[in-house]
Amino acid sequence: MAKLKGKGTVLQQTISSTLTDVAQITDIDISGEASLDFDSTTLDGGVYETKDLTGYSSPGTVKFGLFFDPALAGHQAIVALITTPAACVWKVKYSDAGPSSLTYTSAGLGLEQKVVTKDGLKATVTMNRTGAPTRA
C-alpha cells in the first residue's frame, strides 16, 4: 500500500512508435472511464428502479494542463494531431518505482489556450480515448 505523489508523474506521447515525454505539464485529469448500463425499470417491477449492463464500457477522456510553448517540438507534435487528425498512443507513468502505467489511444483531440496578464501562456489539451487501455 502506498500513497503516491503526483510529483514525478510523466505523460508520454508516441512519435514514430516511440514514447517521448510531454514537457511542462501541470495537471492530468483522467475521467469518464465507466462500464455502461441502461435503465431496465419496468411497469411491473418492484419498488426500486433497476439497471442492466449494456456490455460496453466507455474509455473516457484525458485532459491535461500545461505551460504551452508553441515553439517546442513536443507541443507541436500535439498540435499536429489537430492539423492532421490521427489516433495516437499515450502513456501515463505514475510516480511509483515500477513505474505503474496507463497506456491508451486517443481519437479526437482539442487544444484550448489561455493568455492572461498575470500568468504564463497555458493550454488545456482534451482527448477522447478510444478502445481498451493497457494497465501495467
Binding site: 505523489k5 512519435i15 517540438a73 510516480s95 518505482a97
Partner: protein, 132 residues
C-alpha cells in the same frame, strides 16, 4: 527521413487492446528488430536508426540526431536551443517538478524515490536537525 536515437526510449510495439483480442502492431518490424526486450516492454537503445517521415520530431525533442539531409533540414534550432532542449529533456525524463529545477541543476537532488521524496545528489545540503 532518418535519425539515430541518442538515448534509450520505450517503443510501443502493439496498440492497447482488450485481453484475448489479437494485438495490432504499431511499431514497424525494422524498428522492433533493433530493440531490446525487457519483460513485456520494448526499448530502442541509443544508436537505433529510424527511417520514418515523422522521426524529425524525435530530433527536435532532443532524443535523437538527424542522420540525413532531409532530417537535418527540419532542425532549424541554434546551438543554444539544442542545449536547452537536452537539459530540459533530462529533467523531464526524471519527472523533476518545476519547484525542484533549481535544486536539480545545482546537483542537490537527482530525482525522486518511490514515495516522491527527493533523492539527494552529490551537492545535497546536509539535513538540519528539524528535517531529520
Amino acid at each position: 527521413m532518418k535519425c539515430t536515437l541518442d538515448i534509450e526510449c520505450e517503443v510501443v510495439e502493439f496498440l492497447p487492446c482488450e485481453p484475448g483480442k489479437p494485438p495490432v502492431r504499431l511499431a514497424p518490424d525494422w524498428l522492433v528488430a533493433q530493440c531490446i526486450r525487457r519483460g513485456n516492454r520494448l526499448f530502442a537503445p541509443p544508436g537505433t536508426l529510424y527511417d520514418d517521415p515523422e522521426c524529425y520530431r524525435l530530433v527536435l525533442n532532443g532524443v535523437a540526431t538527424a542522420a540525413d539531409d532531409e532530417c537535418r533540414a527540419k532542425d532549424t534550432r541554434n546551438p543554444e536551443q539544442m542545449a536547452a532542449a537536452q537539459k530540459a529533456l533530462k529533467r523531464l525524463q526524471l519527472g523533476i517538478h518545476p519547484d525542484d529545477f533549481k535544486a536539480f541543476e545545482a546537483g542537490e537532488m537527482v530525482g525522486y524515490d518511490a514515495k516522491g521524496n527527493s533523492i539527494p545528489g552529490p551537492n545535497a545540503k546536509p539535513k538540519t536537525e528539524d528535517e531529520e
